[in-house]
């Protein structure tokens, strides 16, 4: 079941001031930004990531989905240069330098700051460490803080920030030097619904300007922001592709019928039926083998049996179902 999630469309005029000065990205040019081959990571007792190989195209937004302990964080940390892979390579085609950390903006799952610093001081430190030119830094810090909505607390100590503010500051430090690849580890998991919506909205804005890779275990978040997903389970890629093709390949069409009378066994003879689930005695969900469903036939059966129809609903393909199918393969 897909909930329609309508954003109140807020105008982000100030965001444009952030992007105006950004170097143009060749979005959708089909260039590979990142090539990962046979990436593995073993810890003392277990292998967290097993032979991952994937590419990330420039300008795309990829969600890394998987249950807890699937190896998402380990993978992202290796990409960010915080963990050394046991074997395998991570390459940015076109980049010669071995230390590619300057290409990446990384937001860890639980960003921790120097709590004695103010937000502005922290970004100043981050910018200096990333070798940003001093002349641009101050205005850049203000733009970025405005983008994440922290401009009015820029001179407050980080020690007094709430979880959501820290998450936004974490996003700010990741964005600060206009990275080619933005890596976010569970950016919204620890947030309340409001903070969650804010961060997702920021991501939607950023999507057009940089390549984003983020991990989550909430499918809905992935669906809102990203076009392609990578599913990870026990360190292995279970699925890598676009969301559309995932839904197409892994969901079966279904119809829910609710009537005023009991309807057990009414629809047993419908052709093309895979199986029927009864939510209660008066509600049935019919799963079909293929997508073209003869709804007329169903209605006819209902009329013939003199049933009072209360609800007739074509169930949308749900990402959750696809996810369950892929994960349990």
């Amino acid at each position: 079941m897909v909930m329609d999630f309508d954003y109140p469309v807020r105008q982000y005029d100030w965001a444009d001031s952030l992007f105006r000065n950004w170097k143009k990205k060749s979005v959708g040019g089909g260039n590979m930004l990142l090539e990962v081959r046979d990436l593995s990571k073993s810890f003392k007792h277990h292998q967290a990531v097993k032979n991952l190989s994937f590419d990330i195209e420039e300008g795309t937004c990829v969600a890394l989905i998987g249950p807890n302990g699937a190896g998402k964080t380990t993978t992202l940390k290796m990409l960010a240069g915080l963990l050394t892979p046991t074997s395998g390579t991570i390459q940015f085609p076109g980049e010669q330098k071995k230390d590619y950390r300057y290409l990446i903006g990384f937001l860890p799952q639980h960003p921790a700051f120097f709590s004695w610093m103010t937000a502005k001081e922290f970004l100043l430190l981050a910018g200096k460490l990333s070798q940003m030119p001093k002349s641009k830094l101050t205005s850049k810090i203000n733009e970025t803080l405005e983008f994440v909505g922290l401009l009015d607390v820029k001179n407050k100590r980080i020690g007094g920030f709430s979880g959501g503010m820290k998450q936004r500051l974490g996003l700010a430090q990741a964005l600060l030097d206009e990275p080619e690849l933005l890596i976010l580890d569970e950016p919204v998991s620890a947030l309340d619904p409001n903070g969650r919506r804010d961060v997702l909205q920021l991501l939607l804005r950023l999507k057009d300007h940089m390549t984003i890779l983020f991990s989550t275990h909430v499918l809905h978040d992935a669906e809102q922001v990203c076009d392609s997903v990578m599913m990870l389970k026990e360190g292995i890629i279970k699925w890598n592709g676009s969301l559309l093709s995932l839904k197409k390949n892994h969901t079966s069409p279904a119809i829910r019928i609710k009537t005023a009378q009991r309807i057990e066994h009414c629809f047993n003879d419908i052709p093309g039926l895979e199986h029927i689930e009864y939510e209660d005695a008066k509600t049935a969900v019919l799963y079909f083998i293929n997508r073209s469903i003869n709804t007329d036939l169903l209605l006819k059966v209902i009329l013939e049996k003199n049933l009072t129809l209360l609800n007739f609903e074509q169930l949308q393909d749900s990402l959750e179902d696809a996810y369950m199918k892929v994960m349990n393969q």
């Binding site: 950390r101 990446i104 430090q173």
Partner: protein
């Protein structure tokens, strides 16, 4: 170099905000100036505090200024070492534990730059504290006892500072090996104390030992120059400290979890 300066500056501001720039100098000043004061007022202290029988005569030979300074150095040797270790034990462990290290290491920062920024800043704070304390002690010594030449005082301070460099190096190295601040402090003290003990037990085999710096610094005060092996001790201390820092940087590289 720029990265190193940025990190170094961050360390100094941090020490200012968390009060290390205040408590460490004050603690040292108290330890330092208590020595000449206690020496000078010892007869009065004994008279008012002790339950001496009537007519007891206590004769304490007045120490020379050099002797007072030398005994101050030995005060620094025991409590001072402990204070320096306590001041430096958390510099890496804390950032590792609370995760703030991550947001530094996602940027193009090399382990060497990170470690040396910690090393320099801790050395600076410690030596400035020591200098303030020793300078004040020298001032009181000159007032209450005989004047000690300022260059003698500075030379002994410089030699003694090398011991501080060594303490900080050991603590920083352990900071990359152990995770808990308490463990770092404990093992550092164990190593430094063990070295001092070994140096006084097996003098024949430990002529090189950094723990001899204290006696070298005292010799500068009392005898006007280094003992034999003076330069050997100085060079081994410098060499060992650099080695420890290099090992710390290598070890830091191997961290699995920043």
């Amino acid at each position: 170099m720029k990265t190193l300066m940025t990190l170094f500056y961050k360390e100094l501001v941090e020490s200012l905000r968390n009060g290390k720039w205040i408590w460490l100098p004050i603690a040292f000043i108290i330890i330092g100036i208590s020595q000449p004061l206690a020496n000078y007022y010892m007869p009065q202290i004994l008279e008012s505090a002790g339950n001496m029988p009537e007519g007891t005569v206590i004769e304490i030979p007045t120490p020379t200024g050099e002797e007072v300074l030398s005994s101050t150095l030995s005060q620094f040797g025991s409590i001072g070492t402990l204070l320096f270790v306590l001041a430096a034990m958390g510099v890496i462990a804390n950032e590792r534990q609370n995760g703030s290290l991550t947001l530094v290491m996602v940027r193009p920062v090399s382990p060497f730059q990170y470690i040396t920024s910690k090393w320099f800043s801790q050395i600076l704070i410690s030596i400035v504290s020591l200098f303030l304390s020793y300078g004040l002690t020298w001032y009181y010594t000159n007032l209450l006892f005989n004047p000690v030449k300022w260059d003698t005082m500075l030379t002994s301070l410089a030699i003694y500072s090398l011991w501080i460099v060594f303490i900080i190096s050991v603590t920083i190295l352990l900071g990359t090996l152990l995770k808990s601040a308490g463990g770092i402090a404990g093992v550092s003290i164990l190593i430094l104390g063990g070295l001092s003990l070994a140096s006084s037990l097996f003098t024949k085999y430990t002529k090189w030992s950094p723990a001899n710096l204290r006696s070298q610094a005292s010799a500068v005060l009392l005898e006007g120059g280094l003992l034999e092996n003076g330069w050997l001790v100085i060079w081994t201390t410098l060499g060992l400290s650099l080695l420890l820092i290099a090992v710390a940087a290598l070890n830091f590289k191997r961290f699995e979890q920043f």
